[in-house]
Amino acid sequence: MQKTFDIPRELMTEEELLQPGMLSCQGCGASLAMKLALKGLGKRTVVVIPACCWTIINGVYPYSALQVPIIHVPFETAAISASGVRAGLDARGEKDVVVMAWAGDGGTFDIGIQSLSGAAERNDDILYVCYDNEAYMNTGIQRSSATPVGAWTTTTPAGSIKEEPKKDIEEIMLAHHIPYMATTSVAYPDDMYMKFKKVRHITGTKFIHLLSPCPPGWRIDPSKSVQITRMATQAKVFPLYEVRRWRFSKKRGRLEENWKYTINIYPDRELPVKEYMKAQGRFQQMTEDMVNDVQERVDRKWDELIRKADGRPLTPNE
């Protein structure tokens, strides 16, 4: 029978690298994301986790839901810890093992951005995944610099609405000249699968920005978490695309720098941003003007993205 997603059945039924009993909330995108990521990465993966919901999700001493090696590290050290593990494994000759830093948006956009920038600039051979639930969820829903305009959090309560747009982490990362940057989302498992499979074969710093729904933080029903995340892409709030830095030049017989943007999902339904926001409790305090502003920004950024994906050689700064 026809399958919805292009993910091999054997993969879904083989021994799970993530076992149930996890401490994630009902409908948590973060646990789903890990499950899918590991489908693409496979067994030879080490996971590095800074402070974030995932520190809880994985379970308490002496247990671990993850059945790949996992090292817990301080909040701001995901990237460098991964670099350290990488160096250690390299020294042991285990070069094929993927070292994946798996951090929240707080650990990525905010407190961990320094060490991330360091690792990316050094082009350490790690995979850095930011599972972005758009706030500090572990500590009870505080704003981060990934929190979108207008979203309610405990530190952006009614009367102190967040007016600053979300940090443009993709462009920040691309400005580091890393070989691979992609966005993906739990609502598109085959896109996730494809990307996580792909990064296994890319050397250097790979950055994946992954939209991960959080029912309590977004004030949505757990059953809707995937659906609403899909709406984020349909409304182009969170476009799914990837950027490769290198291209093999036949003429020169070597890699040459060539920024290639590929949009992976072209939404087939026009979905206004308003619909996406309406579906979530956290956006209920937004005024119509604010929503319109967001729509404008979203449209503009989408246009930019289309232009970049047009095939013209672009520098990340254009």
Partner: protein
Amino acid sequence: MKQVIKGNFAVSHGVKLCRVKVISAYPITPQTTIVEELSEMCASGELDAKFIKVESEHSAMAGVIGSSTAGVRSFTATSSQGLLLMHEVLHWAAGARLPIVLANVNRAVGPGWNIWADQTDSLSQRDTGLIQVYCESNQEVLDSVIMAYKLAEKVSLPVMLTYDAFFLSHTSEIVDIPEIEQVDEFLPPYNPEFRIDINNPRSFGGMIGPDYYFEERYIMHKDALKALEYYQQVCKEFEEIFGREYDICEEYRTGDAEVIVVAAGTITSVSRIAVDKFREEGKKVGLMKLRMFRPVPVERWRKVLGNVAKVVVMDRNLTAGLGGVFASEIQAALYPIENKPMVYPVIAGLGGRDVTPDDIEGIINYALSNDKPTDVPLFWGLKE
């Protein structure tokens, strides 16, 4: 092979001899030349290690936490502000029970900027769980690096060895550099029982609740205490191979001493000169050199100091509102003794101010001529 080298190079050579696999460090005066030399060694292939040129000390330590968890010998070095920035990760390294070795060049902390010798930086990290070893000479620095790995890997705790800015870091001394074969004999390859292993996947350092955290910390405490005993063993083994003698703390002419000066780092050297002078005059003055400060060798301190009348403690550090760290801890250690000696806490040489044999002489005389301290602590050399 004897060579004239600076303290920092003694560290680099020690690291090389220990066949460290991963180095992750960030430059800061006066540690910089360690990094430079190691980086050259890595570049030339003289040392087969990965040098992660991190963007901060916080990352420097976090990086070796990663590599050490992966099961390879790892090293970092820093000083002062850098060490303070590491604070969070120092706790982590210890809690994770990782045998990382950290060389800290004791330097004053700001503000204002002061790059000279001062032990406040390392002493303010005394609760992190790192083993602390204070060194007095470049030879001791090099030897301590080698012994540090042996100890760290035995008790699964990180070791910080420290030595004074410039007085050692940038001062050349003759150092006997051991042959690597000898070091190999002394220090077998690192092969931990638990490390990141694809075929035996585990979680490291995960959440732990009130029901178990307590015991985990107790175990760490027990193991830290074991380090005292182990270190003595390590020193003995070291002596057997290399012929140089070390201990958790060292005594100099303390046998019949009535006054003992307690010092760490290069103040020990000047104190030794002063002690000799007093002995020449027939005065019963001795010296106890602090080496291991964490874990605290309480029993040894009591043994050495318990029967003397007066103990002068030299602190090149300051805990504002209390005084010197060494003095307060020594006083605490001696507290249960019935006829405890009178302790004379002295703060001297902060921020790299010179402490000369004359200074020590003056301080000892002050102790000799006062039944009890006039100032607690005494700020020696304060411009009144």
